[in-house]
Subunit: 135 residues, 6 copies
């Protein structure tokens, strides 16, 4: 289904530059599983390296937002961008990080509500209140 | 700029159905300020009532996601939907709820990263791994 | 503000190919007013001609959908595509064709509702019921 | 395929809050068929209730726009939001409400035309004509 | 899966207006293969004719952008619009026109990068520098 | 207008980490002009550094796509994402790299055409031809 081939572990093992990224994915995540997104990006080694480095910095490195909150934001963006793969993978990731059914329900409610008021605001072309501008 | 007129407090005061919603907005938020979104929606009383009731249920009523997290999700959705008004109003709302500069920076990083990998996944048409499907 | 210059009537009068389209816009619409969209497209004569020919065929020629219904669909698409110019111009066009405040309110309610359920369906990745497939 | 489980009639029968919504869907639509969207939303009872109440108010209750016109708007929004499920379900709903092949063809033409001019207007960043602003 | 039926060659042969377009597609592309997009559009003869005429003028007729560059732009637009069919068909078309793996990798990198900075610019609501305005 | 403050050269000069990025932007582009996007990102030093490093790698470093082609792809993505700032800045960048009026007209025609057929394909839910799948 993909527009490029998906690299198998055997093919990766013959390409040291790609193997290095896959090794880091496995050790960072403490799991042997490498999902299809990385197997597709393996066709573009430079992009694979840069994307994984960014994901590690943004999603894995400790910061002021906790890992689950980041996944909720990721799901929200993926939903509006209509990225079926990303919705599936980040919903699974959120669950692995402890997302409860109640939290999932609230996430959906906020995404739905925001989509509705976004459409209303755009259709009405509501002018920004001066109170909202950054000082 | 709006495609409809924005209702002033004086005009609202002559329309009891709208006044009731504005009163509830003010008492719920403990603030006299009613932003333009509601002044535009005042042209559609039924939609105004339903939208405010939903916002109260989704964004104000206590739940399992804290109010700031909900604002972060709202900003993420509004950004991808390119709703200028909503980005401004919910960024201001998030700040009022305690958003720090560091959290804002991380939110932006996650939104940007998700947008990038959404585009890559869609361009590559990556098939969903069976591991991600709901059991 | 535009990324190209907007052609004035005087400039158009010196360019017969563009003038011909502007003349047809004016006679078709029975109005001397030519809006900025066409003044921007005047930089691309072939695109100007093709776009106006399509608009005439789709929006002006009689068919099975009445002109106001077509404007409602146009507003809906423009809202979701976040095209500020198009939302303004087609809301004005709909009003000129008789859009009432009540109809506008219902249009907004449907656009908002659809946006909400679109987001929910995508976030939930709901599989299509076999009953909905074309026979 | 869904990111949540789809509730069967048997599971629903053991959950009175969900059963009540399903009963109302069936009696409102005068049909025993309950489509997957509601079976997925059943995981979030509060969201299920609120969404169905809104759909009833917006899409079922009589108003100034006829039911078929509302479905056309719904299809237009769903198409631009790239919601595969919603495109299928509302195209089927429109057909059940009498959509003819000619009307479908015109709907598609308007959606396509609007998408094209939306892109052109955005790429050209055409400034809004003062004539289009709400008085 | 489609919301309309896909016309077979046999059905097309009984409809001269559609057959004429299919004949022109085949002779223009010097290939007997007619892809599903046109078999779906065959339900709307006027739209089929207009769409094919536009595609020929925009994508086939010689101009100042080479055919492969146009396909790259087409893939970029289709990716952001989340059109699975179009991503598949235009990636295949780009390959048939000589797209190399390195070019594909760079295309993906630009699409991903642009998506990220688009999201950042929108989230930050960055004001346009006067230097960027058209003179 | 921005949701964050825009850093002036004077403020930047007091922040060595940000100054280093601004210096590199100026020397890479051989211009003293630093546009507002970077002045807004200056509030998030880590994001500023990572974004500029990626832009340099993707847009500035030599590759198999020429710099003007990359700008055309960037404009296409920005148009569909409805990023007003990015449309302005990358149209200006494309002009600085030699974009002619005829090329701009063709770019617009392809973006418009793709948007139209994306909408039609999505509305019709056209199934992908097996011929288009990657081998």
């Amino acid at each position: 289904m993909a527009t490029v081939k998906l690299w198998t572990d055997e093919e990766v093992s013959a390409a040291p530059r790609i193997q290095a990224v896959f090794d880091d994915i496995r050790s960072t995540r403490k799991s042997d599983f490498v999902n299809n997104f990385w197997r597709a990006l393996a066709n573009q080694p430079a992009l694979l390296e840069r994307t994984w480095a960014s994901i590690k910095e943004v999603m894995v490195a400790p910061g002021t937002l906790d890992p689950l909150t980041k996944e909720l934001i990721y799901i929200a963006v993926s939903t509006i961008n209509s990225c079926s793969y990303c919705i599936h993978s980040h919903t699974a990731a959120a669950r692995a990080k402890g997302l409860t059914d109640d939290q999932h329900a609230e996430l959906l409610a906020v995404i739905g509500m925001a989509s509705e008021t976004n459409a209303l605001s755009n259709a009405l072309q509501v002018p920004v209140d001066p109170e909202f501008l950054a000082k």
